[in-house]
């Protein structure tokens, strides 16, 4: 079985994002970039499925500018067999990403596609669902446990009410949640090994995907700041402060 993993490069989750003073975007120059944390979890799960003998090949794919090769090498160092780099300088919307990934699916014929439930930059939480829809295959979103057997995936999903167990027929798209696993660290020998692993690059234009005239971002602003609070010295003072505000 072959697994395709989406592996997006984003601003590192620890970075405190700054909105540019002119409102045209956020400051990304010189800011640390990393794999989207959810995509690392997706990749880790694919690798574990290969280690269990369920999968034979794990392919990581990204849609990113030309300088994203080091990012993909990280995915290879973690253990992916191959990488596909769709090169584009444009910001890619989830719908366009889903259409592009569908082209890769047609080419690669994977039995399972693993994606993060959301990217921590655009926080859209759409690509997996859109991809499953365009592919005409089932989806299991927000997975915190995955079992593969007899051509089906049994997935525990984190939903508002609790945990739902959903069984879907493969091929399918699974989007992963935080508690699915703990991604492994990359070791130095693996970085060396990753250098000789195959990486395919293809220009976005070659996919033949029409970029939808979708949502246009007009401006960026920092969120409204909360007014500075006060420190209280003990419980009695806290209670009277909350009473004064009519909260108790």
């Amino acid at each position: 079985m072959k697994i395709l993993v989406g592996y997006k490069r984003v601003v590192d989750y620890n970075v405190r994002i700054q909105v540019k003073p002119d409102g045209t975007g956020v400051v990304t120059d010189g800011v640390k970039l990393s794999a989207n944390p959810f995509d690392e979890i997706a990749l880790e799960e694919a690798l574990r499925l290969r280690e269990k003998g369920v999968a034979t090949e794990v392919v990581v794919a990204t849609l990113a500018p030309a300088d994203a090769q080091a990012h993909l090498r990280n995915g290879l160092a973690m253990g992916a067999n191959r990488a596909i780099h769709v090169v584009t300088d444009q910001a890619i919307s989830p719908l366009t990403a889903a259409k592009a990934l569908l082209k890769l699916i047609e080419k690669e014929q994977p039995d399972l596609v693993l994606l993060g439930k959301q990217a921590i930059d655009d926080d859209a939480n759409q690509t997996a669902q859109m991809l499953a829809t365009l592919w005409g295959r089932p989806q299991a979103t927000f997975a915190s446990h995955v079992e593969i057997a007899d051509g089906h995936a049994t997935v525990v999903r984190e939903v508002d009410a609790g945990l739902e167990t959903l069984k879907v027929q493969l091929p399918a798209v699974i989007s992963v949640d935080l508690r699915l696993n703990e991604p492994r660290f990359i070791k130095l020998p693996d970085i060396m090994k990753a250098k000789s692993k195959p990486m395919e690059t293809l220009p976005f234009a070659d996919l033949g995907v029409s970029v939808s005239a979708g949502l246009q971002t007009l401006s960026y602003t920092p969120p409204a700041k909360r007014a500075k609070g006060v420190m209280v010295k003990d419980v009695a003072e806290l209670v009277s402060a909350l009473k004064a505000k009519g909260l108790l």
């Binding site: 759409q126 009410a161 602003t221 969120p223 806290l238």
Partner: protein, 312 residues
């Protein structure tokens, strides 16, 4: 003239309160009419609930055994089929809405506006990115249907007292052949629902164990509050995952939020910064949670939580 269709989220025959918040978002569009579609195995009681939300014009009730569980690939084509004639299709940013709305958008070949925060015009909206650290204004293309999920914390629920007409529709719905829900393990709790509660008491890693969470529950019960948790507390197994508050958990806006032993990582703050009043109780005076707290108390929570509970 805008016509908004809202996809109802429901569980165990009850409408999710987030739907009334979607109605408020829809009514923020100038002169919009609002319809709600209820897809369920027995839609009638849920449709009646939806019809009682003020500002709703019509409720479309579709009862079908195929909707015993709301499988995205079963729900989305039915809603997409109804979308003709509507300018907007909204759903709540609940786990159901997040699962199904992008499928509807893909079928209609449009981008989705995720977590819509405010309406500037029928085609112009704001939404948060980077864990709420930037707010963007997005413009949807003219003449295309707008598909959006509505960020519950940004909208008050529309009042009750509506008398919308209910139209029962039979659709030919094919049950899913490839997806089956085997089980739903619901967190059993008599406490108020985390996303609808006006008061929330949350605990973090500093609680140290599931047993120690008792001090949080005791305070919550005294306040009639819902209980929440940080990711650290959920990962450590102190509480179930459906109590997680933050970027990847639930985003809430209670009148009063009390954070106990929570340091205040960016990912947690994004889930609470619309709360009316934030109280932080933490041993570490340098914890980032104090930057957003209206009232901060530097103290050992095992000492002050019982004290606070007794003082109420």
């Amino acid at each position: 003239m805008s016509k908004v269709l809202i996809v109802a989220d429901h569980l165990n025959g009850q409408l999710n309160s987030a739907v009334a918040r979607c109605v408020s978002a829809a009514k923020a569009i100038d002169g919009a009419s609002v319809d709600i579609v209820v897809l369920a195995s027995h839609a009638a009681p849920i449709a009646a609930e939806a019809a009682s939300i003020a500002g709703v014009d019509k409720v479309i009730a579709i009862s079908d055994a195929a909707f015993g569980a709301l499988i995205a690939q079963t729900v989305a084509p039915v809603v997409a089929g109804l979308a003709d004639g509507y300018t907007h299709v909204f759903g709540p940013s609940s786990s159901f809405g997040k699962d199904v709305m992008p499928c509807i958008a893909a079928l209609l070949d449009v981008e989705q506006v995720s977590d819509l925060m405010s309406v500037e015009s029928a085609t112009r909206f704001t939404r948060p990115i980077y864990a709420g650290n930037a707010i963007i204004v997005v413009e949807a293309p003219a003449g295309r249907v707008v598909v959006a999920t509505i960020r519950a914390a940004s909208w008050a629920a529309a009042a009750a007292g509506g008398r919308a007409s209910i139209e029962s529709v039979t659709a030919s719905v094919a049950a899913s052949t490839h997806s089956h829900v085997l089980d739903l393990q619901q967190g059993k709790s008599d406490r108020p629902d985390l996303q609808a509660a006006s008061r929330v008491v949350s605990g973090g890693r500093a609680l140290g164990s599931a047993e120690n969470f008792a001090v949080v529950y005791a305070l919550a019960d005294k306040l009639g509050a819902a209980v929440g948790a940080s990711r650290a507390a959920v990962d450590a197994g102190y509480v179930p995952s459906d109590l997680q508050v933050g970027q990847t958990g639930k985003i809430i806006s209670p009148e009063l939020y009390i954070a106990c032993g929570i340091s205040g990582a960016i990912q947690h703050i994004t889930g609470i910064k619309d709360a009316g009043t934030i109280v932080a109780i933490n041993k570490d005076a340098d914890a980032p949670i104090f930057e957003v707290a209206d009232f901060g108390l530097v103290a050992d929570l095992f000492q002050v939580l019982p004290e606070l509970t007794n003082a109420l």
